[in-house]
């Protein structure tokens, strides 16, 4: 789960990190009022789940409250990589002497949290990794012991020469690890970590991704979820216990299992069609889930055909077929539906579906070709 910069900064503050103050505005009036209370120059920053906010014009300096208002007016409602900005963060501008990058993420290969730090901050770390890998210092944390004090110091030592600043930075790095742990994050980064001309270290940007699997432990973090920032269908899917990702095509897909769902989308493309979505309905024959899936798929006006692809293993095909029949009786669907079921009790399942008036198949290739054909003809 992605959270906004202002929320990530709050997590950092709770871990004791030096983060400048800031407040969130949803209207230009609020932005102006916040700027007035801080006095001096402020930064107005778009709060949206996307990188590249600066380049998109979503981060602006304002030397007066009126200017802050004007910037907020321009930024609120703007689209950054397809996401609408509903909030801005207003925060005092800092004098910057240097910018560094500090981040920790769960590394798949090392199977452990891994730090990356670089004296080249304020830019995309993937770019630094590609163009100047020597500028990055990496450290894998042993998850049994956590980040040890000398390791934090060793990382900070790669960033600065001044011993007083290294000491401050080592403390921030240790606090970042604590925040990463306690929030159940899969990624936490400060970019940039700045030094001021007075020799203070501050985190002026924050990015945290929470591991979805940790949310049961952290109701306070679940509350940070910005449902305005995600399409309705994804909220509905999550509530119904389905995995759903919207795409741009017209073949609505409803599949059991994530791997098979991806393979089904790929096969739609292979036969010249375009999948409208990824949807994993899970392993049950529960009609409630089928109803939710159908509601989500049919809410997309692009969808011209609905394609079911179900492999019945432990869940028997006839149970799944009954679930589909019951679900389609409960909601009114105009879109044509094609169904492929294979596995245990597939003959019985086909009989049930055909009696209910569906075109049913046992071959994945045949049903996908049929769906693509229907979408093209519709």
């Amino acid at each position: 789960m992605n959270i906004h910069e202002y929320q990530a900064k709050e997590i950092f503050r709770q871990a004791g990190m030096p983060v400048p103050p800031g407040e969130v505005a949803t209207t230009p009036d609020e932005a102006e009022a916040i700027a007035r209370t801080y006095g001096g120059t402020v930064v107005v920053k778009a709060q949206v789940h996307s990188g590249g906010r600066g380049k998109a014009g979503g981060v602006k300096l304002a030397s007066t409250p009126e200017e802050a208002r004007a910037h907020a007016e321009a930024i609120l409602g703007m689209e950054i990589r397809g996401l609408t900005v509903n909030r801005v963060l207003v925060t005092p501008a800092e004098d910057i002497a240097s910018e560094a990058y500090v981040g920790v993420l769960m590394d798949r290969k090392a199977q452990a949290p891994t730090f990356m730090v670089s004296a080249e901050g304020g830019v995309d770390i993937e770019e630094v990794a590609a163009t100047n890998p020597d500028a990055i210092r990496k450290l894998t944390v042993d998850p049994r012991y956590g980040l040890l004090p000398h390791q934090a110091y060793w990382l900070a030592n790669a960033l600065y020469d001044d011993p007083a600043i290294i000491k401050q930075a080592a403390r921030v790095i240790a606090q970042l690890y604590d925040a990463f742990r306690s929030a159940g994050a899969s990624m936490a980064e400060i970019n940039p970590l700045i030094t001021t001309p007075e020799g203070e270290v501050k985190a002026i940007d924050a990015k945290v991704t929470i591991d979805d699997n940790e949310l049961f432990r952290h109701p306070e973090l679940e509350a940070l979820r910005d449902t305005d920032a995600e399409p309705w269908a994804e909220t509905r899917a999550r509530e119904a216990g389905l995995s759903f990702v919207k795409l741009d095509g017209d073949v609505g897909c409803c599949v059991n299992g994530a791997g098979l769902a991806m393979a089904t989308m790929d096969l739609v493309k292979y036969y010249g069609g375009d999948p409208a979505n990824f949807l994993d309905i899970g392993g049950s024959s529960n009609p409630e889930k089928v109803v939710a899936a159908l509601e989500i798929i049919t809410a997309d006006p692009n969808v011209k055909v609905i394609l079911f692809n179900i492999f019945g293993g432990i869940t028997r095909c006839d149970d799944v077929a009954n679930g589909i029949v019951e679900a389609t009786r409960r909601i009114d669907i105009k879109t044509p539906i094609v169904i492929r079921l294979t596995g245990t009790n597939e003959e019985e399942a086909l009989r049930i579906l055909e009696e209910a008036g569906f075109s049913a198949f046992t071959s994945m290739d045949e049903v996908v070709q049929k769906a693509v054909e229907l979408a093209a003809g519709a």
Binding site: R108, N213, N256, G259, L260, A261, M262, F311, M364
Partner: protein
């Protein structure tokens, strides 16, 4: 022969009294797996009633269960909040193979559990995996037994139903399997493609291998390099997620393209460059296996 499990597998079910645990215990016993014990804290002393009037003793702790039954393998159907703890307990009790079916275990819990299990010399399969089956010998996990048949092909996959799809096609075409292993869809998994390839390489009965990967991570690329350098058995590969957009998690927590890394194209190209026959569709797998084996 087979890999990881066979007729000598003696299994403990962790979470045997839960809905999934009890259902799949019965299924495994039906298949002939030697389920020797169950563990559910607080239910020690009770018995699990299996099919055909067979019963399985339940213990409070793994330590007791192993001491009483000499089990060497465990399977975990414990809810996500407690599943990593169940892995630690199994590793501490001396279990050699721990199969973690549970989906949704926090990734930081798994980082600790994997490190702990490595220290204890235990192999973890999964988590978030369907388990494995050695047809005709033993089944540990949730794979449907009726779609497999004994034979010469080893199957390794990150997916559940997509594996069933491929295995069912093999079986329908009369091509059986030594062992089918679901390694799991999570970002941190205990047994990866290379681990399985090593085991299949050493298994004389396995004549060809089917590898089913997906977007996210670099496990497939490392496996491809390993195949080129070490393996003299033919491999057929398939990658799911050619149409997946970057930055979005496709169901599995591990199925996500980060930046431009871990795409299906990259993995398929890597397979092809390292001598792995790439299936463009699941339906092509059988033909490529036939070709590779000279059938």
């Amino acid at each position: 022969m087979s890999i990881f499990i066979d007729e000598n597998t003696r299994l403990i079910v962790q979470g045997i009294t839960g809905r999934d645990g009890s259902f799949h215990t019965a299924q495994m016993m039906e298949y002939g797996t030697a389920v020797v014990a169950g563990v559910t804290p607080g239910k020690g002393g009770q018995t699990f009633e299996g099919p055909g009037g067979r019963t399985v003793p339940i213990f409070n702790t793994m330590d007791e269960a192993v001491a009483e039954t000499g089990a060497n393998t465990s399977v975990i159907y414990v809810p996500p909040a407690f599943a990593a703890g169940a892995i630690l307990e199994a590793a501490d009790a001396g279990i050699e193979l721990i199969v973690a079916i549970t989906e949704g275990i926090p990734v930081q819990d798994m980082a600790r559990a994997h490190a702990f299990a490595r220290d204890r010399g235990a192999r973890v399969l999964g988590p978030n995996c369907p388990g494995l089956i050695s047809p005709g010998k033993s089944k540990v996990g949730i794979l449907p037994a009726q779609i497999v048949t004994p034979g010469p092909v080893g199957v390794i996959s990150r997916s559940g139903t997509l594996t069933y799809e491929a295995v069912y096609q093999l079986t329908t075409a009369g091509i059986g399997q030594t062992t089918c292993v679901g390694i799991g869809g999570d970002p941190l998994i205990g047994t990866n493609f290379v681990d399985c390839l090593e085991a299949f390489a050493a298994d004389a009965d396995t004549k060809a291998i089917v590898m089913i990967g997906e977007i996210g991570g670099t496990d497939e690329q490392e496996a491809a390099a390993w195949v080129r350098e070490h393996l003299d058995k033919p491999v057929v590969g398939f990658i799911a997620g050619q149409t997946a957009p970057p930055g979005r998690r496709m169901g599995h927590a591990g199925a996500i393209i980060s930046g431009s890394a871990g795409t299906a194209e990259e993995k398929m190209q890597c397979f092809a460059e390292n001598g792995i026959a790439v299936a463009k569709r699941p339906a092509d797998i059988v033909g490529l296996v036939r070709e590779a084996m000279g059938l």
